[in-house]
């Protein structure tokens, strides 16, 4: 990064199965308005807008950034639309941050959203394609076989996934924005939920949500002034990285993809993190299916390969007494407006280091990871944010 930059405004909607009270513009503006208010700004103060979302077929609007230009106060400004599959919320934040880190703009509004209830997520992700056998059954159908291979390879007990499902929903109870609020959640409830994609139970899978996320990313002078005037720290960006690899190729490690490992290595090197479990206070990691917590613990280097399930099993990733809480917000397992899910991870990491996470705050959090992945576990976006400005 050429210049320091920081998140100074954060906003999100209350994520729900159906936001039937708003238009798409209305929903996106809730998040944008909240982020601007947090930053003490108005649309007129923003230099550029970067928007991200997953496939346009969810809402049936081709390149909806055109329709949303006015809603986001982008008229007369640069506006970019990012689409990198499930990782898009993270990639979008990174593209926005680069616009500031390079000195091109000082105040960038970045927004990600999905209004999945306008159509049906399972349909949109499994649109039957010519010549293909109609076997694809949503994201779960794609990831469940990989999870099975992980369980086999690691020798993990069968209930580790269910433990993640319970833990993240317990976290969600502390987050008023989270979609799923299941006060009675326990292992039994998960186990008794329908086995949708064996080995994945219904409650081990992410919901389909409507929702939006927004952040204002600002240059150092703007962020410093805001810190002084509000008395709150900004979330300084210590590192950001993206990596991609092909969906399918001979010899591909689908369980522990190289692109994820490379991306983590890069972002931690930038942030000066050598032992993420020790040096980070928490992480918001894209876990749409329960077993991806242990899988990503290994992929991101929080433990050795094969040991991820042990961390989860020991409670290390729980906000309740764990040494490295993952997904204190409830994570993707509790709220999943797909295009925004990655940005929510980035945003929640920023909330934590600003001490603004409310009931799901990790005490004195000063450094956190935001992570997103997409496609066939092939697109990765990550950032590390901290309460102190980087050296």
């Amino acid at each position: 990064m050429n210049q320091r930059c920081a998140v100074i405004g954060i906003g999100q909607t209350h994520h729900k199965a159906k936001r039937e009270d708003v238009s798409i513009a209305g929903m996106v503006r809730e998040a944008a308005r909240a982020a601007l208010d947090d930053a003490g700004m108005d649309y007129g103060d923003i230099d550029a807008v970067v928007i991200g979302k997953a496939p346009d077929m969810f809402e049936g609007i081709m390149m909806p950034e055109h329709y949303l230009a006015g809603a986001l106060g982008a008229v007369g400004k640069p506006m970019l639309r990012v689409h990198t599959a499930g990782s898009v919320g993270g990639s979008t934040a990174i593209v926005a941050a680069h616009l500031v880190a390079t000195g091109i703009h000082k105040r960038v509004l970045t927004v990600a959203f999905e209004k999945q209830s306008d159509s049906d997520a399972m349909w949109a992700l499994s649109v039957p394609q010519p010549f293909a056998a109609p076997l694809l059954a949503g994201a779960g159908g794609y990831f469940a076989p990989i999870i099975r291979a992980y369980i086999n390879r690691s020798g993990a007990p069968n209930d580790v996934g269910m433990k993640v499902a319970v833990k993240d929903r317990l976290h969600a109870l502390k987050n008023p924005y989270a979609h799923l609020q299941l006060p009675d959640i326990d292992l039994k409830m998960v186990e008794e939920s329908i086995m949708l994609w064996d080995p994945l139970h219904y409650l081990e899978s992410c919901p389909s949500s409507d929702g939006a996320a927004a952040m204002v990313i600002a240059a150092e002078d703007v962020a410093t002034a805001q810190e002084k005037s509000t008395g709150r720290s900004a979330a300084w960006i210590h590192g950001m990285a993206m990596r991609s690899e092909p969906t399918m190729f001979a010899g591909r490690n689908q369980i522990n993809p190289q692109a994820g490992r490379d991306c983590a290595k890069d972002v931690f090197a930038q942030a000066g993190v050598t032992n993420p479990r020790k040096e980070l206070d928490c992480a918001e990691v894209y876990v749409p299916f329960s077993w991806y917590e242990p899988m990503w613990l290994e992929n991101l280097g929080f433990c050795d390969e094969g040991d991820g399930w042990k961390l989860t099993d020991s409670g290390a990733t729980s906000l309740d007494g764990g040494d490295i809480p993952w997904n204190c917000s409830g994570g993707v397992l509790s709220s999943n407006p797909i295009g925004a899910s990655g940005m929510l991870r980035f945003l929640e990491a920023a909330l934590q280091v600003r001490g603004m996470a409310g009931e799901h705050q990790v005490a004195d959090a000063s450094k956190a990871l935001g992570h997103a992945y997409g496609g066939g576990s092939q697109f990765f976006a990550m950032w590390v944010v901290g309460s102190d400005r980087p050296a």
């Binding site: 010519p130 779960g140 990989i146 099975r148 190729f249 001979a250």
Partner: protein, 168 residues
């Protein structure tokens, strides 16, 4: 204005059906695999650089980014590398649930593709299971992977998982 109109609820929802017609083209490489299906056989391609066999072929090696031209006919026999039991209903679904989808590694191929498993109780399907393709009757064969009705067990001993670890 009539009373009836005045008590009508405000409009909150709008139905906007969208239908688009496409004329999809499979391209050259994929068409060769598709023609294979129409003939009741698996046709893949070998990368001239890494020598790996891709089936079905998309015309390129995703690692070396070079065109794949050399054709390889592959047998009906395969190994289940991993699988899941699908038990979720959704719009547009055409197979009755529950069904088993598996990553199928054809003998001689270096890449898996997704296939339907039948002829075995769901709880007996396992990683390493040996299977063979069952094609639809000859007169129903067509240029689509749907020409493969399903894969069923061959009865051979399972393959050790360690022997296909690099395909997971």
């Amino acid at each position: 204005m009539s009373d009836a109109l005045e008590i009508q609820e405000p409009v909150t929802m709008l139905s906007t059906p969208i239908r688009l017609n496409y004329d999809f083209t499979a391209g050259v490489a994929q068409s060769r695999s598709l023609r294979g299906y129409a003939e009741g056989r698996f046709v893949g391609q070998r990368c001239p650089v890494c020598k790996k066999v891709y089936v079905p072929s998309r015309g390129s090696c995703p690692v070396d980014a070079v065109p794949t031209k050399e054709e390889v006919v592959l047998p009906n026999t395969a190994t289940v590398t991993t699988f899941c039991v699908v038990n979720v209903p959704f719009a547009g679904q055409s197979i009755e649930i529950p069904y088993i989808t598996a990553s199928i590694l054809l003998d001689g191929a270096d890449i898996t593709f997704m296939g339907l498993i039948q002829g075995i109780p769901a709880d007996e399907v396992r990683m390493g299971l040996r299977v063979e393709a069952v094609w639809v009757p000859k007169e129903e064969l067509g240029p689509t992977l749907a020409s493969v009705k399903y894969f069923q067990p061959t009865g051979e001993p399972d393959r050790e998982i360690s022997t296909f670890r690099e395909h997971l």
